[in-house]
């Protein structure tokens, strides 16, 4: 049985700046990293392999240089890496992206039963958290989002028990397979690749599936298939902070100053 992990290569957002003139991201020279949440998804799929003997396939949709990210996944121990890359896939929003990924999972399931699809909770560039649920919807799978612990997978009864991490509480849930799981970062500590695995990954095959292989209607994918369009990206204006008084010299006076300032701004009522 197969676990399919979907990962995304994202620009290192701490290094991305917005061009105030054009309202676009300055991506030049910014290194790409695996979306931090997806590293945990990948780790969880490898743990499922260790615990229950699943085979692990990893999918990533993106430009051809996404291959580097897939090789990292191979170095960590995934069995199969598939790159979904085609100009027709470009400019996709979450709807169009989930269509391509869902189709890829469906194609994989033709050869081998897919038990679990794992994604990170969200990506750090788009922050929508929609692609995982989108895949589940398109495939008609159950979905468990925000999972922080997979307690058990019962392959005979075809069900999974997991814990979801919600605001201020946990939820233990059981679901039928196949299921889509999106994970939070606290689910695990990712492993580190050994050198023999890295060297193996350098020469391993990364399978390319373009739209000739996938055969999707170009009108339903990429920019054409997207329901949303980004009009403008901008950094919110932020007032510069100020230092009130001299706390080191006279703490009491500084606190007084702060209180009066807060009252003045209507943030505090005395």
């Amino acid at each position: 049985m197969l676990v399919v992990t979907c990962i995304k290569q994202v620009p290192d957002t701490t290094q991305v700046k917005v061009d105030p003139e054009t309202g676009t991201l300055i991506r030049e020279g910014v290194p790409f990293i695996i979306n931090p949440f997806d590293i945990h998804a990948l780790e969880e799929s490898l743990r499922l392999k260790d615990r229950f003997g699943f085979r692990v396939a990893v999918l990533s949709m993106g430009p051809p240089n996404t291959e580097v990210t897939l090789r990292k996944a191979l170095a960590l121990g995934v069995d199969q890496a598939i790159l979904l890359s085609d100009r027709a896939f470009g400019g996709a929003d979450t709807l169009a992206t989930s269509k391509v990924l869902a189709e890829a999972v469906r194609r994989l399931s033709e050869q081998e039963d897919v038990g679990i699809v794992i994604t990170g909770k969200q990506t750090i560039d788009g922050d929508t958290a929609q692609v995982g649920p989108g895949i589940a919807t398109r495939l008609g799978y159950q979905q468990l989002t925000l999972v922080d612990n997979i307690e058990n997978v019962d392959l005979h009864a075809n069900k999974i028990t997991a814990r979801r991490k919600l605001e201020g509480r946990h939820e233990r849930v059981e679901s039928k397979l196949p299921v889509l799981i999106s994970v939070v970062r606290s689910i695990n500590r990712p492993r580190y690749p050994t050198v023999p695995m890295r060297l193996m990954a350098e020469d391993a095959e990364v399978i390319l599936w373009d739209n000739q292989v996938m055969g999707l209607d170009p009108e339903t994918i990429g920019l054409n298939g997207s329901a949303t369009q980004v009009r403008k990206i901008f950094s919110p204006e932020r007032d510069k902070g100020e230092i009130l008084g001299d706390g080191a010299a006279d703490l009491g006076k500084a606190v007084q100053l702060l209180v009066s300032k807060l009252v003045e701004k209507d943030l505090l009522h005395i």
Partner: protein, 661 residues
């Protein structure tokens, strides 16, 4: 006196055959180690052997070593006497010293007589020291040590017994030239009958023969193996200072680091045979002395035990007794906790009389853990990922590397336009405290009119910690990227303010064939002072008493000792105060070898606190350092001792910059 030749020939042949067999068994294991060329530059190697083995240069650095020096030379001289003794036993008619001309014979007998009593005295002193003043860092009362000392003593006693009896019997023609034996003859054998004297002489002869042959055969099975290996080990010693490790070849199918004893270099195995268990490495190790499990002597000892215990597996001739090289809590295995405790400060290698290379062995085993097993203390995971993704230890965005240039004008490095590349380093660019040092260095360079530029956002980490932590694969990739950039930009001369960047570029990058002139800021600043390019106030200027800390990677690794001392003295008009452990005996701050990025394993004390206490013993107002790691460790140490309000930590560059007129 001549023994029964047939009886002796049988004993002799049996002893020699057994000895050859033992030595063969031991040395055949050495041959299983990995290749390591130690046969180049024979001339220099012979000189090293004469100077360090026969000259006992390092042995006599500690006072008690003089006792060993004397015993060593007694042994060398008595070797002539003992060879003659054995040959005479076999060919009593043909070979005898007494056949030499009288003058030569008399001189030799006098020398042997005096040397034998000297040897006996040194043995008694050595036993007395072990019994009465046992040093904490050796296994003073080990059975092995007393057994071998007793054997040496018995040899000497038998020597005097034999010659005393012969003199008393009137058969020794050199009797007037052997004062000690003569005294034995008149003191003990006076009035004894000729027959009895013959028996005494024969008894002592046999005791001497059996102890001598027994001694020879005991060597390969004890720590006294060093009698056979220490001299060649000085011949094989690394020709440069051991301040780096060899590269690894990253090809599929290779194995990385040392997970079993035969994956160490043959020199590493030979080292383990050469250990005399003198304990000097233990005594000076900052980890050992603060109660960590690491004891450098035991690391070497465990390698030896592992090698011997795995003999049958390694030579494929017997049952499987695979004792793991890296494992917990038994003799012959080095635990992971021990391996991660090392700061790679190199103090152990600096004091070892026979040049055992402890640190490279520890890094070999770390390499195995990191590269083959991906097993390391968990705090290193973030460190490794930060290094791979952002090329700095904290994972800070590379754009932040130019933050310190916000208020001053700094040129980018450009070949032809700027002479030096000022390689700011991760700490110098990204750590807020170290940035102040960077500003000081920049100010000094500008004042002196030095032409310099930086790589800015493009600067990458040098990779020092990665290499010391055994993550050679990522280090290798990083070096290649750096070298590509240096070559593309035409970088030839680099000034660094971190001893780790300095040593890594200077020593480690050389293995990649790049020719860089690397200079530490302490050296460059001192050079500027000496050439009169900096006008200094030469007054205390609020620094008060300055105590100086030698960084391991600056001092011990690269022998930069004088420059920072001279620069501070010029800047302040006063010499620095030395800590108890200084120069090549300096005590690590605790951050080297990647320990900067790890939690300290439990011990009696943190290394940085121990070192801070040592600094505070000098009652300083300022602790002067030359390294951003040392800076952090001392500042933390002062906080721990509640001394951070009275004592400041300053980099040498800050003191000089403050003292500019």
């Amino acid at each position: 006196m001549s023994p029964n030749v047939t009886a002796f020939a049988i004993v002799f042949a049996a002893a020699i055959l057994f000895f050859i067999w033992s030595v063969y068994r031991r040395f055949r294991l050495i041959a299983l180690g990995q290749p390591d060329n130690r046969f180049d530059a024979i001339g220099r190697r012979i000189w090293n052997m004469l100077f360090f083995a026969f000259g006992q240069r390092r042995v006599v650095k500690r006072t008690f070593g003089i006792n060993h020096f004397i015993l060593f030379w007694c042994f060398i001289i008595l070797m002539i006497a003992n060879v003659e003794f054995l040959l005479h036993g076999l060919f009593s008619q043909q070979i005898a010293l007494s056949k030499l001309p009288d003058g030569t014979y008399h001189t030799l007998t006098t020398v042997f007589d005096i040397v034998s009593i000297l040897a006996l005295v040194t043995v008694v002193i050595a036993m007395g020291r072990r019994l009465l003043f046992p040093p904490s860092y050796i296994d003073a009362k080990s059975r092995d040590a007393f057994f071998i000392l007793s054997m040496v003593a018995m040899l000497m006693i038998a020597f005097f017994g034999l010659h005393g009896a012969e003199i008393a019997n009137g058969v020794e023609k050199a009797e007037d030239y052997m004062p000690i034996s003569n005294a034995v003859a008149s003191g003990i054998f006076d009035g004894v009958s000729t027959n009895s004297l013959d028996t005494w002489a024969e008894t002592f002869w046999w005791i001497h023969a059996i102890v001598l042959l027994g001694f020879l055969n005991y060597l390969p099975y004890s720590k006294h193996m060093h009698v056979l290996t220490a001299i060649p080990n000085c011949f094989f010693k690394s020709l440069d200072k051991v301040n780096t490790q060899p590269r690894e070849g990253f090809k599929q199918g290779n194995s990385f680091g040392a997970g079993q004893v035969s994956e160490l270099s043959w020199k590493g195995l030979f080292d383990s045979y050469s250990c005399t268990e003198c304990g000097r490495c233990t005594d000076i190790c900052p980890a050992t002395s603060t109660g960590k499990k690491l004891n450098p002597r035991l690391v070497i000892h465990d390698i030896k035990v592992n090698l011997l215990k795995n003999e049958s597996v390694l030579t494929n001739s017997g049952k499987q007794v695979s004792l793991p090289l890296i494992g917990d809590n038994h003799e012959g295995s080095v635990s992971e906790e021990v391996l991660w405790a090392c700061t790679t400060c190199g103090a152990c290698m600096e004091v070892c009389p026979v040049f055992i290379e402890h640190v490279p062995r520890i890094v070999d085993m770390r390499r195995h853990l990191v590269e083959m097993k991906a097993k390391f203390p968990e705090e290193l995971l973030t460190f490794f990922e930060n290094m791979e993704q952002r090329s700095n230890p904290w994972g800070i965005a590379p754009t932040e590397r130019i933050k310190w240039t916000a208020d001053i004008e700094v040129k980018p490095f450009e070949a032809g336009q700027t002479e030096y590349l000022f390689y700011v380093g991760c700490a110098g660019a990204l750590d807020s405290r170290a940035r102040r040092v960077t500003m000081s260095t920049a100010k000094i360079l500008d004042t002196a009119g030095v032409s310099w530029g930086i790589l800015g956002k493009e600067e990458l980490c040098c990779g020092d910690s990665l290499r010391r932590l055994g993550n050679e694969y990522v280090f290798d990739r990083m070096v290649q990227e750096n070298i590509k950039m240096f070559e593309a930009k035409g970088v030839k001369r680099i000034v660094t303010q971190c001893p780790h960047c300095f040593s890594t570029f200077k020593n480690d990058y050389r293995q990649y064939g790049i020719d860089l002139e690397v200079i530490h800021h302490t050296e460059l600043i001192d050079r500027l002072i000496k050439s009169g390019k900096l006008n200094l106030k030469s007054e205390r200027n609020g620094f008060g008493n300055i105590v100086f800390h030698d960084s391991c990677y600056l001092g011990r690794y690269n022998e930069v000792y004088e420059a920072p001392r001279h620069a501070v003295a010029s800047a302040t008009g006063h010499d620095i105060h030395e800590m108890h452990n200084h120069l090549d005996k300096s005590f690590c701050c605790g951050a080297g070898g990647g320990r900067m990025w790890m939690e300290e394993s439990p011990g009696q004390k943190n290394i940085n606190v121990a070192r801070t206490e040592e600094a505070l013993a000098n009652n300083p107002k300022t602790i002067c350092v030359c390294c951003p790691y040392c800076m952090t460790m001392f500042e933390d140490g002062l906080k721990d001792k509640d001394a951070d309000t009275n004592v400041q930590v300053l980099d040498m560059a800050e003191i000089v910059a403050e003292s500019l007129k």
